[in-house]
């Protein structure tokens, strides 16, 4: 009698107890190991239909598996066992923080001249360093990095500030690019008058504003995942229209677009085909202007209203914030930025077809924003620049076909260990922390990716 009772008690206790492998730390190890095996398989030898198990055998018996596993375990161990120590070292160095580190921060905060000085140095570096790169990297820098930084900064408004998940952002990029093609007379359909590429920019901005509002107005009553699906659909509509209305858009054959040129009568300049640097300076100026304007926006009434809507829409509305208007505004501002990037892209590359605007790009841009840190301009700049650079850098190191696998692996690790992004915004990381500790409900974009860090 008493024996069975004690057995039952023990069983109950055992059932209640968390198994060691259920603890977040070990679950993360399992995830990392699974990731390592997956990476081994997808980056290893290819299969063949004659020998179905060839790839499996080849990859799992090779040395690559062990390299990947060692890497995964190293990352896991470093993050799990070293971070607490680093963190305690950092917090133990509060003394340090109030000492020399604090001094630096004080100077940074107190003195405008210091901040401007640092900004000026950064700007000088941004202007000077690329001219030392070789031609290939200069092209990458302009055609991809600069363009997608611009797009990501625009998407950041929608997703990072207003908290709306947009999976079809490249649709606006496409609209911008096709606007450029149309108004410069490149499309099979002719415009009422042929304009200079620069003159197309405001037109593209307005077109994308309108497109953003047209997409937004009927869909903004949707939230989170539902909105994401609708934007996904919107992207497909734009993409398939570009592809199938070949008589109007050139379809997959594409059209040739004129490059940027200025002709003021007494002075004219043409952005050439070979040298990428003039485009780089132009785009750098675009990015600088947009970042400056958005930085102001973030720290203004508008930025605060977006934060309010993101955190608690009901409370925001009850406080007098016109939620629909602000959400539309976010859509429109983000879309128009993307439109500018589209014009720049079409005018730089000189040729667009529908396949330049596939859904993958929308997803990648979203990844740039999340990787860098939603809502944080420095984060998004870094995230976009780094993630566009990475596949290019991997091109010579690994099988080019596998490049995006590495990107995916990196994103998975990132979401496990640093879901707030590389350089998170202060507001956003606070929200994430509050959502994790269960104090507030996370929205679609602050929901923790699962498992809390011990």
């Amino acid at each position: 009698m008493s024996a069975t009772t004690s057995v039952n008690v023990r069983t109950a206790r055992r059932l209640r107890a968390e198994r060691w492998y259920q603890r977040p730390r070990w679950r993360r190890l399992a995830a990392m190991v699974a990731l390592a095996v997956t990476m081994t398989l997808v980056t290893g030898a290819q299969g063949s239909h004659q020998d179905l198990f060839f790839a499996l055998e080849e990859n799992l018996t090779g040395v690559a598996l062990w390299v990947w596993l060692a890497l995964a375990v190293a990352v896991w161990a470093g993050r799990e066992f070293l971070t607490p120590q680093v963190a305690s070292a950092v917090s133990g160095s509060r003394a340090l923080a109030s000492g020399p580190l604090g001094r630096v921060r004080e100077v940074w905060r107190a003195d405008r001249r210091v901040r401007f000085g640092v900004l000026a140095v950064a700007a000088a570096l941004a202007v000077l360093v690329p001219s030392g790169l070789d031609r290939y990297w200069q092209t990458v820098l302009v055609d991809q990095i600069a363009i997608f930084v611009l797009v990501a900064v625009g998407l950041n408004v929608v997703i990072g500030w207003a908290g709306m998940l947009d999976l079809g952002f490249i649709a606006f990029f496409a609209i911008g690019a096709y606007s450029a093609a149309y108004w410069t007379g490149a499309l099979p359909v002719q415009p009422p008058m042929v304009l200079n590429n620069f003159a197309v920019i405001p037109i593209a901005v307005v077109t994308c504003l309108v497109a953003g509002v047209l997409l937004g107005a009927p869909t903004l009553r949707l939230r989170g995942d539902y909105l994401a699906i609708v934007t996904l659909g919107f992207h497909e509509i734009v993409y398939l229209s570009a592809k199938n209305l070949a008589d109007y858009t050139g379809g997959t054959r594409g059209v040739k677009v004129d490059r940027f040129a200025v002709d003021l009568g007494f002075w004219s300049y043409e952005w050439g085909v070979v040298d990428a640097m003039p485009y780089y300076y132009l785009l750098l100026a675009f990015v600088a202007v947009v970042v400056f304007l958005f930085w102001r926006l973030e720290h203004s009434k508008v930025g605060r209203a977006w934060t309010a809507i993101r955190e608690d829409e009901v409370a925001a509305a009850s406080t007098g914030v016109d939620t629909v208007r602000y959400k539309l505004m976010a859509f429109a501002i983000g879309a128009s930025t993307s439109g500018v990037a589209g014009v720049a892209y079409a005018s730089k590359v000189g040729y667009i077809n529908s396949e330049n605007f596939v859904i993958l790009l929308s997803v990648l841009v979203l990844a740039y924003v999340i990787f860098g840190g939603m809502g944080s301009i420095p984060g998004v700049l870094f995230g976009a620049a780094f993630l566009v650079w990475l596949p290019e850098a991997l091109r010579s190191l690994v099988d080019p076909k596998d490049r995006y696998m590495y990107l995916g692996g990196l994103l998975v690790v990132m979401m496990i260990y640093r879901p707030q992004g590389v350089i998170p915004s202060r507001r956003r990381s606070r929200e994430l922390k509050l959502a994790r500790s269960g104090e507030v409900e996370g929205d679609g974009t602050t929901e923790p990716a699962g498992g809390r860090l011990s």
Binding site: R221, L293, F294, R296, L297, S300, K301, V302, R304, A305, T307, A308, E311, D312, E313, V314, A315, A316, A317, S318, T319, G320, V321, D322, T323, M329, I333, R427, R428, R430, E431, L434, E439, V440
Partner: protein
């Protein structure tokens, strides 16, 4: 600056004119599917008074608030709002932000602050909804945008000072104590310059000292700012001491209205709170402690099928909460 200090001598309490209704709702009926949450509720709120709404859990108090502020759209009824400046506005079917702009502000039962923002930013967001500055002027840093920024800053400081949070401007809303969070919510509502303030259980979860301070704050809001206050509260001591009049809801109906003492004696109220003799401890705990008990417990015969009705009323409340979560504010729950 624009805090309306209307310190009429004798206080607005004496001046509350029974004929001058600032909020006049009649026949509000709100249904969620088959559940009737509000059943022809009448509400007459005099200008400058503190009116308390009490009732057992699930009586429809919060649904009433949500109907008044546009979060729900009742299927029937009229809600007329008469601002000081004159004119009449129908609030039923208006979007929450429009209701707020007309001068009806509210707080929430389960505190809904912008937790990751500071106290100052929380209040600024509210103050800024009254200022004109579009995104373009902000981006270009036009003088008008700067002026608006400065004004909202001043206004927020002023309001936070008024509620006694001046020392906690830069603390995160989520890290404030419960009582301070309640006060911050009130500050946020006040920053929109309301003429009517709806407080939904402002004393819930606060300690006795904070309750006293809150009581004082409600009085000051009423007297110094001349704001009419509609108050949902379970703490009867607070209600009896602060309210000019009390309205009692039960099962979505108004069962009594009058001065606190009159309402306390009302047999219908006693029954609502204590139930029939078979009454259980499940009815509200705070209610019966002040003088109602002696005749209340034995007054009524057990004719009402209390037990059968309570759950349905609760379901109504739940449905309401759910609806609030899933729907856009201002969307019609039809």
């Amino acid at each position: 600056m624009t805090v309306d200090v209307r310190k009429e001598e004798g206080g607005p309490r004496a001046a509350a004119d029974p004929g001058d209704l600032v909020l006049d709702a009649s026949g509000i009926t709100l249904r969620f599917g088959g559940v009737t949450s509000l059943d022809g509720v009448e509400l007459g709120m005099r200008r400058g008074e503190i009116l308390a709404v009490i009732g057992p859990n699930g009586a429809g108090k919060t649904s009433l608030f949500n109907s008044l502020t546009g979060a729900y759209v009742p299927q029937e009824g009229r809600i007329t709002y008469r601002p000081r400046a004159g004119g009449e506005h129908e609030l039923r079917g208006r979007k929450p932000y429009r209701v707020n702009r007309l001068g009806v502000a509210r707080t929430f039962q389960n505190i809904r602050l912008f937790s990751a923002l500071t106290a100052l930013e929380n209040v600024k967001i509210a103050a800024e909804t009254r200022l004109k500055a579009g995104p373009v002027s902000v981006m270009l840093g036009l003088p008008s945008a700067r002026r608006a920024e400065r004004r909202s800053d001043e206004r927020a400081h002023e309001v936070l000072d008024f509620v006694g949070l001046a020392g906690k401007l830069n603390e995160l809303a989520g890290s404030l104590s419960y009582g301070d969070q309640r006060r911050l919510e009130i500050a946020r509502a006040l920053a929109t310059d309301p003429q009517v303030l709806l407080l939904d259980e402002p004393a819930a979860g606060t300690n006795p000292t904070e309750k006293l301070e809150l009581e004082e704050l409600i009085r000051r809001i009423n007297r110094e700012l001349g704001v009419s206050v509609l108050l949902i509260e379970h703490d009867m001591r607070l209600v009896m001491s602060v309210a000019d009049r009390v309205m009692v809801l039960n099962f979505g109906r108004r069962i009594a209205e009058g001065t606190p003492s009159a309402v306390q004696q009302d047999p219908a109220v006693v029954q609502a709170y204590l139930g029939a003799p078979a009454a259980d401890a499940a009815s509200d705990d705070a209610a019966p402690d002040e003088g109602t008990a002696p005749d209340g417990t034995t007054a009524r015969g057990g004719t009402e099928p209390t037990d059968a009705r309570v759950p349905s009323a609760r379901e109504g409340e739940d449905a309401g909460t759910r609806a609030a979560r899933n729907e856009q504010p201002g969307e019609e729950p039809k």
